[in-house]
Symmetry: C2
Protein backbone atom coordinates (compact mmCIF):
# COMPACT_ATOMS: atom_id res chain seq x y z
CA UNK A 1 0.00 0.00 0.00
CA UNK A 2 1.51 3.36 -0.98
CA UNK A 3 2.13 5.55 2.05
CA UNK A 4 4.09 8.60 3.05
CA UNK A 5 4.31 7.84 6.77
CA UNK A 6 4.49 4.62 8.79
CA UNK A 7 3.11 5.56 12.21
CA UNK A 8 3.77 3.61 15.40
CA UNK A 9 0.16 3.62 16.48
CA UNK A 10 -1.21 2.54 19.86
CA UNK A 11 -4.79 3.77 19.66
CA UNK A 12 -4.14 6.21 22.51
CA UNK A 13 -4.87 9.94 22.60
CA UNK A 14 -1.52 11.19 21.34
CA UNK A 15 -0.93 8.86 18.41
CA UNK A 16 -4.57 9.14 17.33
CA UNK A 17 -4.36 12.93 17.22
CA UNK A 18 -1.09 12.59 15.31
CA UNK A 19 -2.81 10.27 12.83
CA UNK A 20 -5.55 12.85 12.22
CA UNK A 21 -2.99 15.60 11.90
CA UNK A 22 -1.13 13.72 9.18
CA UNK A 23 -4.38 13.00 7.35
CA UNK A 24 -5.32 16.70 7.56
CA UNK A 25 -1.94 17.51 6.02
CA UNK A 26 -2.77 15.22 3.11
CA UNK A 27 -0.27 12.52 4.04
CA UNK A 28 -1.01 8.89 3.30
CA UNK A 29 -0.52 6.92 6.52
CA UNK A 30 0.08 3.26 7.34
CA UNK A 31 -0.44 2.49 11.02
CA UNK A 32 1.48 -0.24 12.83
CA UNK A 33 0.22 -1.55 16.13
CA UNK A 34 2.02 -4.03 18.32
CA UNK A 35 1.04 -6.91 20.49
CA UNK A 36 4.01 -7.13 22.83
CA UNK A 37 2.26 -8.89 25.64
CA UNK A 38 1.03 -5.64 27.18
CA UNK A 39 -1.78 -5.78 29.75
CA UNK A 40 -3.64 -3.16 27.79
CA UNK A 41 -4.01 -4.95 24.47
CA UNK A 42 -7.42 -3.33 24.69
CA UNK A 43 -5.74 -0.37 22.98
CA UNK A 44 -5.42 -2.29 19.72
CA UNK A 45 -9.22 -2.58 19.47
CA UNK A 46 -9.40 1.22 19.57
CA UNK A 47 -6.60 1.50 17.03
CA UNK A 48 -8.26 -0.89 14.64
CA UNK A 49 -11.63 0.85 14.89
CA UNK A 50 -10.13 4.29 14.30
CA UNK A 51 -8.22 3.03 11.27
CA UNK A 52 -11.41 1.48 9.92
CA UNK A 53 -13.17 4.83 10.24
CA UNK A 54 -10.39 6.76 8.55
CA UNK A 55 -9.62 4.19 5.87
CA UNK A 56 -6.03 3.95 7.08
CA UNK A 57 -4.16 0.66 6.69
CA UNK A 58 -3.69 -0.93 10.11
CA UNK A 59 -1.24 -3.76 10.66
CA UNK A 60 -1.15 -5.37 14.09
CA UNK A 61 2.25 -7.00 14.49
CA UNK A 62 2.54 -9.85 16.98
CA UNK A 63 5.84 -9.57 18.80
CA UNK A 64 4.49 -11.08 22.00
CA UNK A 65 7.43 -13.50 21.95
CA UNK A 66 9.45 -10.51 23.20
CA UNK A 67 7.51 -10.48 26.45
CA UNK A 68 10.18 -12.30 28.53
CA UNK A 69 12.88 -10.01 27.09
CA UNK A 70 11.17 -7.04 28.72
CA UNK A 71 11.80 -8.37 32.23
CA UNK A 72 10.02 -6.66 35.08
CA UNK A 73 8.07 -3.90 33.37
CA UNK A 74 4.65 -3.43 34.97
CA UNK A 75 3.10 -3.17 31.51
CA UNK A 76 4.22 -6.61 30.37
CA UNK A 77 4.83 -8.66 33.52
CA UNK A 78 1.71 -9.80 35.32
CA UNK A 79 3.68 -10.20 38.57
CA UNK A 80 4.43 -6.47 38.72
CA UNK A 81 1.57 -4.15 39.73
CA UNK A 82 0.74 -1.08 37.65
CA UNK A 83 1.52 1.90 39.91
CA UNK A 84 -1.25 4.36 40.79
CA UNK A 85 -0.64 8.08 41.01
CA UNK A 86 0.58 10.96 38.93
CA UNK A 87 2.16 10.31 35.54
CA UNK A 88 5.28 12.25 36.46
CA UNK A 89 5.89 10.33 39.73
CA UNK A 90 9.10 8.35 40.03
CA UNK A 91 7.00 5.23 40.68
CA UNK A 92 5.87 5.40 37.04
CA UNK A 93 9.32 4.17 36.03
CA UNK A 94 7.94 0.67 36.71
CA UNK A 95 5.94 1.17 33.50
CA UNK A 96 8.99 1.62 31.29
CA UNK A 97 9.21 -1.16 28.70
CA UNK A 98 12.92 -1.42 27.88
CA UNK A 99 13.79 -0.01 24.47
CA UNK A 100 10.18 -0.20 23.33
CA UNK A 101 10.28 2.79 21.03
CA UNK A 102 13.46 1.71 19.32
CA UNK A 103 11.94 -1.70 18.61
CA UNK A 104 8.64 -0.25 17.35
CA UNK A 105 10.36 2.40 15.23
CA UNK A 106 12.84 -0.11 13.81
CA UNK A 107 9.97 -2.29 12.65
CA UNK A 108 8.20 0.79 11.29
CA UNK A 109 11.47 1.62 9.53
CA UNK A 110 11.59 -1.84 7.92
CA UNK A 111 8.06 -1.36 6.63
CA UNK A 112 8.83 2.16 5.38
CA UNK A 113 11.83 0.79 3.46
CA UNK A 114 9.70 -2.05 2.01
CA UNK A 115 6.87 0.14 0.79
CA UNK A 116 8.89 3.22 -0.15
CA UNK A 117 7.49 5.52 2.57
CA UNK A 118 9.57 8.58 3.32
CA UNK A 119 8.84 8.83 7.05
CA UNK A 120 8.29 6.89 10.22
CA UNK A 121 6.65 8.60 13.15
CA UNK A 122 5.69 8.34 16.80
CA UNK A 123 3.79 10.57 19.20
CA UNK A 124 6.29 10.97 22.06
CA UNK A 125 5.58 14.20 23.95
CA UNK A 126 7.18 16.42 26.58
CA UNK A 127 5.24 14.83 29.45
CA UNK A 128 6.98 11.53 28.71
CA UNK A 129 10.53 12.79 29.04
CA UNK A 130 11.02 12.39 32.77
CA UNK A 131 9.80 8.78 32.82
CA UNK A 132 10.54 7.28 29.41
CA UNK A 133 14.12 7.76 28.20
CA UNK A 134 13.21 6.69 24.68
CA UNK A 135 10.74 9.57 24.38
CA UNK A 136 13.39 12.27 24.82
CA UNK A 137 14.31 14.62 21.96
CA UNK A 138 17.96 13.51 22.14
CA UNK A 139 16.91 9.90 21.61
CA UNK A 140 14.65 10.86 18.71
CA UNK A 141 17.42 12.84 17.07
CA UNK A 142 19.95 10.01 17.41
CA UNK A 143 17.43 7.44 16.20
CA UNK A 144 16.64 9.56 13.15
CA UNK A 145 20.31 9.62 12.26
CA UNK A 146 20.68 5.82 12.62
CA UNK A 147 17.50 5.13 10.65
CA UNK A 148 18.72 7.42 7.90
CA UNK A 149 21.76 5.13 7.50
CA UNK A 150 19.94 1.80 7.80
CA UNK A 151 19.05 1.71 4.13
CA UNK A 152 20.56 3.14 0.92
CA UNK A 153 17.58 5.50 0.76
CA UNK A 154 17.09 7.88 3.71
CA UNK A 155 13.97 7.35 5.81
CA UNK A 156 13.26 10.14 8.31
CA UNK A 157 11.67 10.21 11.74
CA UNK A 158 8.81 12.66 12.30
CA UNK A 159 8.03 13.41 15.93
CA UNK A 160 6.09 16.68 15.91
CA UNK A 161 4.80 16.33 19.50
CA UNK A 162 8.22 16.01 21.15
CA UNK A 163 7.95 19.42 22.75
CA UNK A 164 4.17 19.50 23.17
CA UNK A 165 2.52 18.87 26.52
CA UNK A 166 -0.49 16.56 26.52
CA UNK A 167 -2.65 19.66 26.89
CA UNK A 168 -1.05 21.18 23.77
CA UNK A 169 -1.76 17.95 21.91
CA UNK A 170 -5.42 17.90 23.00
CA UNK A 171 -5.88 21.54 22.06
CA UNK A 172 -4.36 20.89 18.65
CA UNK A 173 -7.10 18.32 18.04
CA UNK A 174 -10.05 20.66 18.34
CA UNK A 175 -10.17 21.43 14.60
CA UNK A 176 -9.57 17.82 13.56
CA UNK A 177 -12.79 16.06 14.62
CA UNK A 178 -10.87 13.27 16.35
CA UNK A 179 -13.14 10.64 17.99
CA UNK A 180 -11.38 11.01 21.34
CA UNK A 181 -13.99 8.86 23.05
CA UNK A 182 -12.74 5.80 21.15
CA UNK A 183 -9.08 6.24 22.11
CA UNK A 184 -7.60 4.08 24.85
CA UNK A 185 -4.98 5.10 27.44
CA UNK A 186 -5.40 2.94 30.58
CA UNK A 187 -2.44 0.71 31.43
CA UNK A 188 -4.67 -1.75 33.30
CA UNK A 189 -6.59 -2.66 30.17
CA UNK A 190 -10.00 -3.48 31.63
CA UNK A 191 -13.41 -2.82 30.06
CA UNK A 192 -13.33 0.85 31.02
CA UNK A 193 -10.45 3.16 32.00
CA UNK A 194 -9.42 2.52 35.64
CA UNK A 195 -9.00 6.21 36.47
CA UNK A 196 -6.13 5.52 38.89
CA UNK A 197 -3.04 4.54 36.88
CA UNK A 198 -0.57 7.16 35.72
CA UNK A 199 -1.85 7.45 32.20
CA UNK A 200 -5.51 7.69 33.34
CA UNK A 201 -4.55 10.51 35.74
CA UNK A 202 -2.65 12.24 32.94
CA UNK A 203 -5.61 11.82 30.58
CA UNK A 204 -8.11 13.28 33.05
CA UNK A 205 -5.81 16.16 33.89
CA UNK A 206 -5.17 17.01 30.24
CA UNK A 207 -8.89 17.25 29.41
CA UNK A 208 -9.42 19.40 32.47
CA UNK A 209 -6.50 21.75 31.75
CA UNK A 210 -7.45 22.00 28.08
CA UNK A 211 -10.95 23.04 29.14
CA UNK A 212 -12.50 20.17 27.18
CA UNK A 213 -15.27 17.80 28.17
CA UNK A 214 -13.72 14.39 28.95
CA UNK A 215 -15.75 11.71 27.14
CA UNK A 216 -13.94 8.86 28.93
CA UNK A 217 -15.72 6.45 31.28
CA UNK A 218 -13.53 5.90 34.36
CA UNK A 219 -14.16 3.15 36.88
CA UNK A 220 -12.92 5.39 39.73
CA UNK B 1 21.06 -14.57 33.73
CA UNK B 2 23.96 -12.18 34.41
CA UNK B 3 25.76 -11.21 31.22
CA UNK B 4 28.15 -8.62 29.93
CA UNK B 5 27.20 -8.85 26.26
CA UNK B 6 23.95 -9.62 24.45
CA UNK B 7 25.03 -10.93 21.05
CA UNK B 8 22.84 -10.97 17.95
CA UNK B 9 23.72 -14.54 17.05
CA UNK B 10 22.86 -16.35 13.82
CA UNK B 11 24.96 -19.49 14.13
CA UNK B 12 27.03 -18.42 11.10
CA UNK B 13 30.81 -18.19 10.82
CA UNK B 14 31.24 -14.57 11.82
CA UNK B 15 28.97 -14.39 14.85
CA UNK B 16 30.22 -17.78 16.10
CA UNK B 17 33.82 -16.61 15.97
CA UNK B 18 32.75 -13.41 17.72
CA UNK B 19 31.07 -15.49 20.42
CA UNK B 20 34.27 -17.46 21.02
CA UNK B 21 36.31 -14.28 21.04
CA UNK B 22 34.13 -12.77 23.76
CA UNK B 23 34.35 -15.97 25.81
CA UNK B 24 38.14 -15.97 25.41
CA UNK B 25 38.14 -12.40 26.73
CA UNK B 26 36.29 -13.60 29.82
CA UNK B 27 33.01 -11.91 28.93
CA UNK B 28 29.72 -13.50 29.91
CA UNK B 29 27.54 -13.72 26.80
CA UNK B 30 23.82 -14.12 26.18
CA UNK B 31 23.03 -15.04 22.59
CA UNK B 32 19.82 -13.99 20.86
CA UNK B 33 18.72 -15.77 17.72
CA UNK B 34 15.76 -14.77 15.59
CA UNK B 35 13.14 -16.58 13.65
CA UNK B 36 12.06 -13.91 11.19
CA UNK B 37 10.66 -16.22 8.57
CA UNK B 38 14.05 -16.69 6.90
CA UNK B 39 14.50 -19.60 4.50
CA UNK B 40 17.59 -20.62 6.38
CA UNK B 41 16.11 -21.23 9.80
CA UNK B 42 18.53 -24.15 9.67
CA UNK B 43 21.05 -21.66 11.09
CA UNK B 44 19.26 -21.61 14.45
CA UNK B 45 19.96 -25.34 14.93
CA UNK B 46 23.67 -24.57 14.59
CA UNK B 47 23.36 -21.64 16.96
CA UNK B 48 21.59 -23.70 19.59
CA UNK B 49 24.11 -26.52 19.40
CA UNK B 50 27.08 -24.17 19.70
CA UNK B 51 25.52 -22.44 22.70
CA UNK B 52 24.90 -25.82 24.31
CA UNK B 53 28.58 -26.70 23.88
CA UNK B 54 29.81 -23.41 25.29
CA UNK B 55 27.26 -23.16 28.09
CA UNK B 56 26.05 -19.83 26.72
CA UNK B 57 22.42 -18.83 27.22
CA UNK B 58 20.59 -18.99 23.87
CA UNK B 59 17.22 -17.37 23.37
CA UNK B 60 15.47 -17.91 20.05
CA UNK B 61 13.03 -15.05 19.58
CA UNK B 62 10.08 -15.64 17.27
CA UNK B 63 9.42 -12.50 15.26
CA UNK B 64 8.15 -14.39 12.24
CA UNK B 65 5.08 -12.15 12.30
CA UNK B 66 7.38 -9.53 10.76
CA UNK B 67 7.75 -11.59 7.61
CA UNK B 68 5.20 -9.62 5.52
CA UNK B 69 6.80 -6.35 6.70
CA UNK B 70 10.03 -7.35 4.96
CA UNK B 71 8.42 -7.30 1.53
CA UNK B 72 10.38 -8.78 -1.36
CA UNK B 73 13.62 -9.86 0.29
CA UNK B 74 14.87 -13.15 -1.17
CA UNK B 75 15.69 -14.35 2.34
CA UNK B 76 12.14 -14.06 3.63
CA UNK B 77 9.86 -14.19 0.59
CA UNK B 78 9.48 -17.61 -0.99
CA UNK B 79 8.42 -16.01 -4.29
CA UNK B 80 11.82 -14.36 -4.71
CA UNK B 81 14.74 -16.61 -5.72
CA UNK B 82 18.03 -16.51 -3.81
CA UNK B 83 20.60 -15.16 -6.29
CA UNK B 84 23.64 -17.28 -7.15
CA UNK B 85 27.06 -15.76 -7.64
CA UNK B 86 29.62 -13.72 -5.81
CA UNK B 87 28.76 -12.15 -2.46
CA UNK B 88 29.80 -8.70 -3.64
CA UNK B 89 27.65 -8.80 -6.82
CA UNK B 90 24.89 -6.21 -7.17
CA UNK B 91 22.38 -9.07 -7.52
CA UNK B 92 23.00 -9.89 -3.84
CA UNK B 93 20.98 -6.79 -2.93
CA UNK B 94 17.93 -9.04 -3.32
CA UNK B 95 19.06 -10.65 -0.05
CA UNK B 96 18.83 -7.44 1.98
CA UNK B 97 16.21 -7.77 4.72
CA UNK B 98 15.06 -4.19 5.36
CA UNK B 99 16.35 -2.79 8.64
CA UNK B 100 17.13 -6.25 9.97
CA UNK B 101 20.12 -5.27 12.07
CA UNK B 102 18.35 -2.35 13.69
CA UNK B 103 15.48 -4.64 14.67
CA UNK B 104 17.78 -7.36 16.00
CA UNK B 105 20.01 -4.92 17.87
CA UNK B 106 17.02 -3.05 19.31
CA UNK B 107 15.70 -6.30 20.75
CA UNK B 108 19.19 -7.16 22.00
CA UNK B 109 19.24 -3.68 23.55
CA UNK B 110 15.96 -4.33 25.35
CA UNK B 111 17.37 -7.54 26.79
CA UNK B 112 20.63 -5.82 27.78
CA UNK B 113 18.64 -3.14 29.62
CA UNK B 114 16.52 -5.81 31.35
CA UNK B 115 19.41 -7.93 32.59
CA UNK B 116 21.91 -5.13 33.23
CA UNK B 117 24.36 -6.09 30.45
CA UNK B 118 26.74 -3.36 29.40
CA UNK B 119 27.00 -4.25 25.70
CA UNK B 120 25.11 -5.46 22.69
CA UNK B 121 27.04 -6.80 19.75
CA UNK B 122 26.85 -8.03 16.17
CA UNK B 123 29.38 -9.45 13.74
CA UNK B 124 29.01 -7.11 10.74
CA UNK B 125 32.21 -7.11 8.69
CA UNK B 126 33.81 -5.17 5.85
CA UNK B 127 32.64 -7.63 3.17
CA UNK B 128 29.04 -6.74 4.03
CA UNK B 129 29.34 -3.02 3.45
CA UNK B 130 28.65 -2.86 -0.27
CA UNK B 131 25.48 -4.96 -0.03
CA UNK B 132 23.99 -4.41 3.42
CA UNK B 133 23.58 -0.75 4.41
CA UNK B 134 22.97 -1.68 8.05
CA UNK B 135 26.39 -3.32 8.29
CA UNK B 136 28.29 -0.11 7.54
CA UNK B 137 30.46 1.54 10.20
CA UNK B 138 28.47 4.79 9.92
CA UNK B 139 25.28 2.89 10.71
CA UNK B 140 26.92 1.13 13.65
CA UNK B 141 28.20 4.41 15.04
CA UNK B 142 24.82 6.13 14.76
CA UNK B 143 23.03 3.11 16.24
CA UNK B 144 25.43 3.08 19.19
CA UNK B 145 24.57 6.70 19.91
CA UNK B 146 20.82 6.08 19.76
CA UNK B 147 21.04 2.96 21.91
CA UNK B 148 23.07 4.89 24.46
CA UNK B 149 20.11 7.27 24.85
CA UNK B 150 17.35 4.65 24.86
CA UNK B 151 17.67 4.02 28.58
CA UNK B 152 18.81 6.05 31.60
CA UNK B 153 21.86 3.78 31.74
CA UNK B 154 24.13 3.72 28.69
CA UNK B 155 24.33 0.43 26.78
CA UNK B 156 27.09 0.29 24.16
CA UNK B 157 27.39 -1.45 20.81
CA UNK B 158 30.46 -3.63 20.23
CA UNK B 159 31.20 -4.43 16.59
CA UNK B 160 34.86 -5.48 16.52
CA UNK B 161 34.68 -7.04 13.03
CA UNK B 162 33.41 -3.92 11.25
CA UNK B 163 36.71 -3.42 9.45
CA UNK B 164 37.72 -7.09 9.20
CA UNK B 165 37.38 -9.06 5.98
CA UNK B 166 35.92 -12.54 6.29
CA UNK B 167 39.44 -13.88 5.83
CA UNK B 168 40.66 -11.76 8.76
CA UNK B 169 37.80 -13.13 10.86
CA UNK B 170 38.62 -16.74 9.96
CA UNK B 171 42.31 -16.21 10.68
CA UNK B 172 41.45 -14.68 14.07
CA UNK B 173 39.70 -17.94 14.97
CA UNK B 174 42.70 -20.24 14.67
CA UNK B 175 43.63 -19.90 18.36
CA UNK B 176 40.05 -20.18 19.58
CA UNK B 177 39.12 -23.81 18.79
CA UNK B 178 35.85 -22.77 17.15
CA UNK B 179 33.81 -25.71 15.80
CA UNK B 180 33.56 -24.15 12.34
CA UNK B 181 32.05 -27.32 10.89
CA UNK B 182 28.88 -26.75 12.91
CA UNK B 183 28.33 -23.16 11.75
CA UNK B 184 25.73 -22.46 9.06
CA UNK B 185 25.92 -19.84 6.29
CA UNK B 186 23.82 -20.97 3.30
CA UNK B 187 20.87 -18.74 2.44
CA UNK B 188 18.97 -21.64 0.84
CA UNK B 189 18.72 -23.50 4.11
CA UNK B 190 18.74 -27.11 2.88
CA UNK B 191 20.31 -30.13 4.59
CA UNK B 192 23.79 -29.18 3.40
CA UNK B 193 25.25 -25.91 2.12
CA UNK B 194 24.19 -25.30 -1.51
CA UNK B 195 27.60 -24.02 -2.59
CA UNK B 196 26.10 -21.59 -5.10
CA UNK B 197 24.46 -18.71 -3.19
CA UNK B 198 26.41 -15.57 -2.33
CA UNK B 199 27.18 -16.52 1.23
CA UNK B 200 28.29 -20.07 0.26
CA UNK B 201 30.65 -18.59 -2.34
CA UNK B 202 31.99 -16.14 0.25
CA UNK B 203 32.44 -18.95 2.78
CA UNK B 204 34.38 -21.17 0.35
CA UNK B 205 36.53 -18.27 -0.78
CA UNK B 206 37.36 -17.19 2.77
CA UNK B 207 38.58 -20.67 3.77
CA UNK B 208 40.65 -20.83 0.62
CA UNK B 209 42.20 -17.38 1.04
CA UNK B 210 42.87 -18.00 4.73
CA UNK B 211 44.71 -21.20 3.80
CA UNK B 212 42.43 -23.29 6.00
CA UNK B 213 40.79 -26.60 5.29
CA UNK B 214 37.07 -26.03 4.65
CA UNK B 215 35.09 -28.57 6.71
CA UNK B 216 31.79 -27.65 5.02
CA UNK B 217 29.79 -30.10 2.92
CA UNK B 218 28.57 -28.33 -0.23
CA UNK B 219 25.95 -29.81 -2.55
CA UNK B 220 27.68 -28.23 -5.58
Amino acid sequence: MASDVVLSYSGGLDSTILLYRFLAEGKRVSALGFNYGQRHQRETISAKEICRRTGVEYKLVDISALNPIFGRSALTNSEVAVPHGHYADATMKATVVPNRNMIFLSIAGAYAISIGAKYVSFAAHAGDHTIYPDCRPEFAQAFDKALGLADWRRVELLAPFLNFSKVDILRSATQLAVPLEITWSCYEGGDVHCGLCGTCIERKEAFSLAGLKDPTIYRE
